[in-house]
C-alpha cells in the first residue's frame, strides 16, 4: 500500500475571486466562509449551518410516549441516542424509572449503537484522511479508497461488524434505524434465551474487532511521525476549552445514566450537575449567521467564538469524555485509556488533552468500551429477566433525560399534562455543544495553514478535518439536515469579494 499523501502542491492565485467548494459532499448543508486580509492571510473563518426543522415546536401537542419515535428522526445516524434520551425524559414525565431488566436491555442496545456509530464514523468518514492522506485526490479520499488501501479483508470485517452492531439493536428495538422499544418505565418486550445467545456471539466479535480498529489507528496514524506532529501541534488543531461528559458514581466513563461533569482548562472539576439542573449550568446563544445554536456554560458567560477560561464555550465529544472521566470500568478500554494519557504526558501535556485530532483516538477507545459493556450487559442475568415494564404509571409533569450521544452530551427536556400531551419541549443535542469550538478550530486551522493567498485542495481538506474530528452531524445539530458534513467553503478578500475557485478533483 502506497503511503498517504499528506501535503499537496500549493497554488498561488492572482484572480480577484476564488470560490472553494471543495468539501466533497454537496453544498449547502454546511458551509465554511474564510475571509482573507489584504496580504492573503486569514482574517477570520465561519462555520455555518443552514437548516432548521423546529422539532421543539412541532413536538408540542404530541403524545409524550411518541417522543422517542418522533425525535429519533432528528438523526438517522444516531437515532439510538435520541430514542434513549427521549425515553429517559418520558420516564421522568411519568415519574418512574425502568425496571432492572429494562435498564439492562436498554443499556445493551445503547452500547451496540455506539459500536455502530463509531465504526461508521472512523471508517466511512474519518479514516480516509489518514489512510489515503489529507492531500490525496478527492476522488480517492472516501470509504472505497480506504477499502482499496487496507484490503478487502479488513473492509469486509468493518462491514460485518457494523452489521452485527445494527443487528443487536434491531433485535431489541425492532429496527436499528429508528428503534421503537422504549416505553415509560420499560421496554416493549423481554429477551429470550435464544436471542441472548445470538447477541452474545455477535458482541464477542464486536470486542475483538474494536481491538483490531485500535491496531489500525496505531499503525496508520500513531505510527506516522508526520501525523503525530500535526496532531500535537498547538498552532493547528488545538484550543483550550472546558470539557463536558457524563460519568458514573466513580467518575468513570458513562454513556447512559449518571451526572454530567465539566472540567476546566486545568482538568479540575468545574461543576457536576444532575440532569434536572441542566438549565442552571447551560444556556444556548444564537447568532444571526447560523441556524445552529452555540451552547455555553451559563456561569462563565458567552464571549462569542473564543476559547480559554473566560469563554463559556465547552466541548462535548469523545475527547471530552476521556478528559472528564478518571478511568474506564472495563479492562481492555482502561488499558488503552492509560496508554493514551501516557502518550500525551510523554509529549509534555499536563491536564486535559486539548488536541482536537486526538478525538479520533478517543473514539476508538470508546468503541472498545462500548463493545465490552454491551457484552457484559448481554451476559448479565438481568438481561433475561422478563419483568420489563413498570405497572400503574401515570403521565403528568416534567422529565429531563440526558445520555452521552456518540457526538456529545444529549439533553431532552419535556413537560406533559395529565393526558400525556407535550406542553413544552427543549433539546440540546450532541453536535450543537461543539458548535462554538468547531468555529474556533476551523478559524485557527485556516489561519495556521493559509498564507499569502496560497491555497490547495489538501490544505482546505485539512481545514475540514478540524470539524470532521467532531463527527459533526448537522442533522442533529440543527435538528435539521442529515449526515456528516456536506458543505461549501468560500475564501474571500477583505472587501468581501470571492477569491478564485479551486476544484478538488
Amino acid at each position: 500500500m502506497a503511503g498517504p499523501i499528506i501535503w499537496d502542491e500549493k497554488q498561488k492565485t492572482d484572480k480577484k475571486r476564488i470560490e472553494v467548494d471543495p468539501i466533497t459532499r454537496l453544498e449547502g448543508h454546511g458551509k465554511i466562509e474564510i475571509f482573507l486580509d489584504d496580504n492573503g492571510n486569514v482574517k477570520n473563518a465561519y462555520w455555518q449551518v443552514p437548516e432548521l426543522r423546529g422539532f421543539e415546536k412541532f413536538c408540542i401537542g404530541r403524545r409524550v410516549t411518541e417522543m422517542n419515535q418522533i425525535t429519533a428522526r432528528l438523526c438517522g445516524v444516531c437515532p439510538g441516542a435520541h430514542h434513549m434520551a427521549a425515553t429517559k425524559a418520558t420516564d421522568g414525565c411519568y415519574n418512574t424509572k425502568p425496571t432492572e431488566a429494562a435498564f439492562t436491555i436498554r443499556d445493551a442496545f445503547y452500547h451496540a449503537h455506539y459500536v455502530h456509530s463509531h465504526i461508521a464514523h472512523f471508517y466511512a468518514l474519518a479514516s480516509a484522511d489518514f489512510v489515503c492522506g489529507p492531500g490525496a485526490p478527492a476522488a480517492q479520499r472516501n470509504v472505497l479508497g480506504v477499502v482499496a488501501a487496507v484490503g478487502l479483508e479488513l473492509g469486509g470485517a468493518v462491514l460485518a461488524t457494523r452489521a452485527k452492531a445494527q443487528k443487536i439493536q434491531a433485535m431489541i428495538g425492532g429496527k436499528a434505524t429508528h428503534p421503537v422499544m422504549g416505553v415509560p418505565g420499560g421496554v416493549t418486550k423481554p429477551i429470550s434465551r435464544e436471542e441472548q445467545k445470538e447477541m452474545e456471539a455477535m458482541a464477542k466479535d464486536m470486542v475483538a474487532f474494536s481491538q483490531t480498529s485500535m491496531k489500525v489507528l496505531k499503525d496508520v496514524v500513531l505510527g506516522n511521525k508526520d501525523y503525530v506532529d500535526i496532531i500535537a501541534n498547538p498552532d493547528l488543531y488545538y484550543n483550550e476549552t472546558y470539557h463536558m461528559g457524563m460519568v458514573n458514581d466513580k467518575n468513570q466513563l458513562e454513556f447512559h445514566d449518571g451526572p454530567v461533569r465539566v472540567v476546566d482548562q486545568k482538568g479540575k472539576e468545574f461543576v457536576k450537575y444532575e440532569p434536572y439542573d441542566y438549565l442552571d449550568h447551560v444556556s444556548e446563544a444564537s447568532e444571526e449567521w447560523s441556524y445552529e445554536k452555540f451552547p455555553y456554560l451559563k456561569n462563565v458567560g458567552y464571549k462569542g467564538m473564543t476559547a480559554g477560561p473566560e469563554s463559556g464555550l465547552y466541548r462535548a465529544s469523545p475527547l471530552s469524555r476521556l478528559n472528564v472521566a478518571e478511568s474506564i470500568s472495563t479492562p481492555l478500554a482502561q488499558a488503552e485509556f492509560e496508554y493514551y494519557h501516557g502518550f500525551f504526558k510523554d509529549l509534555g501535556v499536563e491536564g486535559p488533552i486539548q488536541h482536537t485530532l486526538a478525538t479520533h483516538w478517543a473514539r476508538i477507545i470508546e468503541m472498545i468500551y462500548a463493545a465490552e459493556k454491551c457484552l457484559a450487559d448481554i451476559q448479565s442475568d438481568k438481561f433475561l429477566d422478563q419483568n420489563v415494564k413498570q405497572h400503574d404509571v401515570m403521565p403528568g409533569g416534567r422529565g429531563v433525560g440526558i445520555v452521552e450521544a456518540p457526538r456529545g452530551t444529549l439533553t431532552h427536556d419535556y413537560t406533559c399534562d395529565e393526558n400525556g400531551i407535550v406542553t413544552a419541549c427543549n433539546m440540546i443535542v450532541g453536535t450543537t455543544n461543539n458548535n462554538g469550538p468547531i468555529n474556533c478550530d476551523v478559524a485557527k486551522v485556516a489561519k495556521g495553514l493559509i498564507h499569502n493567498f496560497e491555497v490547495s485542495p489538501g490544505l482546505l481538506n485539512m481545514v475540514e478535518m478540524a470539524f470532521r474530528a467532531y463527527d459533526p452531524c448537522n442533522s442533529c445539530a440543527t435538528h435539521s439536515l442529515p449526515g456528516q458534513m456536506p458543505m461549501t467553503a468560500e475564501i474571500r478578500y477583505a472587501d468581501g469579494s470571492l477569491l478564485e475557485k479551486v476544484t478538488r478533483n
Binding site: 445516524v77 472516501n142 429508528h178 444556548e284 447568532e287 441556524y291 442529515p482
Partner: protein, 404 residues
C-alpha cells in the same frame, strides 16, 4: 382485500362454523389470514416486492457503467444509513454504477451535476422532504439531469416526520420564535445579552469581515412529488435494505440488457396487501372498548395488538416492512404509507379503528356517550394518524382560525 377481506372472511368462517358445528367455533379461529388474501387477489401486485438477491448486484458491462446519484433533502440521514445497511452489497454498487453524487459517502458537487447533460444520470435516489429553497433547487436540478427519479423513504414519499411542522399554525415564523427565544436555554441567553431585540438567524447578515447568508425556510414541508415529477417510490422509515437492491437490479437490467422498467408510479419493496397480513400476530377482531398504550399492557407477543386495546395503523398501511415494529410490541405508525385500497392513511386508519368499536349489528346499541368515551381516549389523533403522511394528507396543514 387485505384487512377488510380478512375480517369478512373471518366473520363468514365464524358463521359457517356456528351453523355447522357450533361446538367447534374456537378451532378455525387460527386464521388462515394470509392464504385467504392471496387466493382472492384479484389484481396485479402494485409493487415490486423485495426479493433476496444474494450478496451481489450485477456488475457493469465493459462498455461502461450507468450514472447514479443519491441526494438528501430534509431528511435525517437514516435513508443513507439504510444504503450502508446493504452491507457487502454496498461495495458492489460501485461496481455497477458511477456514483456521481452521494453526500454521505463520496464526492460530487452541485456544480458538477449542473455541468452534466440533461438526462445523463440514469437514476437519482432522493430522500428527505422539501423544506427550503436549497432543497427545491437541488431536486429540480436532479430531475432535469436524470432519466429516472426515485422518491426514497417516507419523507420523500409522504412528508414524513418533518411534515409534522405543518401542524404549527404560524409556520416558520412561529417555529423560529419558539426555538430561538422561548425554549428556556435560549430565553436565558436572549434576556441576558439581547434584552432589546433577540438574536435570531437571518437570511443575510453583515459581520465585520463581510456578508454571510442562509437559505430561506418554507412554511410548508412538501413531499418530493409535490415539487418534481417522480418515477418510482420506495417508502419506509427507513426502507428495507432489500428494496434498494431490488430497484438497482431493475435499473441495471434496464441499462445493460434493455429489460423494460416497471410502469411509472410503481412502489418498490411493498406488497399489495396491508401490514396486517405480514404481521405474525394472531387476530381475533375483538371489539375495542378501551384504548391503551403499550406501556399499560403486559403485551402478549402472539396476539394482535389491536385485540389488546392498542391502536395500530397496520390495517390501513401498506405492507412490505416485515412488521418490524409490531414484532417487538409497538404498534404500526404508518411509515410505509397508505395501502393501495385506501386513499388517505389517517382517515382510513381511523375508520378501521372506529369500526372495531361496538357498532356492528350484533353488538348492543352503543350510546353517544360511549362513543365519546372511547374516542376521547385517543390522544392527539392528528399527530398519531398522520405521523408520517401530513404532506400528503387531505388536511395538509394547520392554520390560524379566521386567518391565513
Amino acid at each position: 382485500m387485505g384487512w377488510w377481506a380478512d375480517r369478512k372472511k373471518k366473520k363468514e368462517e365464524q358463521k359457517a362454523a356456528q351453523a355447522v358445528a357450533p361446538a367447534k367455533t374456537a378451532a378455525p379461529a387460527k386464521a388462515t389470514v394470509c392464504e385467504a388474501a392471496e387466493c382472492s387477489a384479484d389484481k396485479e401486485p402494485v409493487g415490486l416486492a423485495a426479493a433476496d438477491l444474494g450478496p451481489l448486484l450485477p456488475g457493469a458491462p465493459p462498455n461502461g457503467k450507468f450514472n447514479l446519484a443519491v441526494y438528501w433533502a430534509a431528511g435525517c440521514g437514516g435513508c443513507d444509513v439504510s444504503l450502508l445497511d446493504t452491507n457487502e452489497r454496498v461495495l458492489t454498487i460501485a461496481d455497477m454504477a458511477n456514483i456521481v453524487m452521494w453526500p454521505i459517502a463520496v464526492d460530487g458537487k452541485e456544480k458538477d451535476i449542473a455541468a452534466m447533460e440533461d438526462g445523463s444520470i440514469t437514476v437519482s435516489l432522493i430522500n428527505g422532504a422539501v423544506r427550503n429553497s436549497e432543497n427545491e433547487h437541488m431536486v429540480k436540478l436532479l430531475r432535469k439531469k436524470s432519466l429516472i427519479v426515485v422518491s426514497y423513504g417516507t419523507c420523500a414519499c409522504f412528508g414524513g416526520t418533518p411534515a409534522l411542522a405543518n401542524l404549527v399554525p404560524g409556520g416558520k415564523d412561529e417555529i423560529l420564535d419558539y426555538v430561538y427565544t422561548k425554549v428556556p436555554s435560549s430565553a436565558a441567553f436572549q434576556s441576558k445579552y439581547n434584552s432589546a431585540k433577540p438574536k435570531i438567524p437571518q437570511t443575510s447578515t453583515t459581520v465585520p469581515e463581510g456578508e454571510l447568508t442562509l437559505p430561506v425556510l418554507y412554511d410548508n414541508v412538501y413531499a418530493l412529488d409535490q415539487v418534481i415529477d417522480v418515477d418510482y417510490y420506495i417508502p419506509g422509515c427507513p426502507p428495507m435494505q432489500e428494496s434498494i437492491s431490488h430497484l438497482l437490479k431493475a435499473v441495471a437490467d434496464f441499462a445493460y440488457n434493455g429489460v423494460a422498467l416497471p410502469p411509472k408510479g410503481t412502489m418498490v419493496g411493498v406488497t399489495s396487501k396491508t401490514l396486517c397480513e405480514e404481521c405474525p400476530r394472531k387476530k381475533e377482531y375483538k371489539r375495542i372498548t378501551e384504548v391503551k398504550e403499550p406501556y399499560q399492557v403486559d403485551t402478549n407477543n402472539d396476539k394482535c395488538l389491536v385485540d389488546q386495546g392498542i391502536i395500530c395503523l397496520g390495517a390501513a398501511t401498506m405492507g412490505g416492512c416485515g412488521a418490524r415494529c409490531t414484532k417487538v410490541g409497538q404498534p404500526c405508525r404508518g411509515c410505509y404509507g397508505p395501502s393501495p385500497e385506501v386513499q388517505e392513511l389517517g382517515s382510513s386508519a381511523f375508520t378501521a379503528i372506529a369500526s372495531l368499536f361496538p357498532v356492528i349489528d350484533e353488538d348492543p346499541i352503543m350510546g353517544e356517550d360511549k362513543v365519546d368515551d372511547i374516542m376521547s381516549q385517543i390522544k392527539d389523533p392528528l399527530g398519531y394518524f398522520y405521523a408520517f403522511s401530513m404532506s400528503k394528507s387531505l388536511i395538509k396543514r394547520s392554520v390560524k382560525e379566521g386567518g391565513q
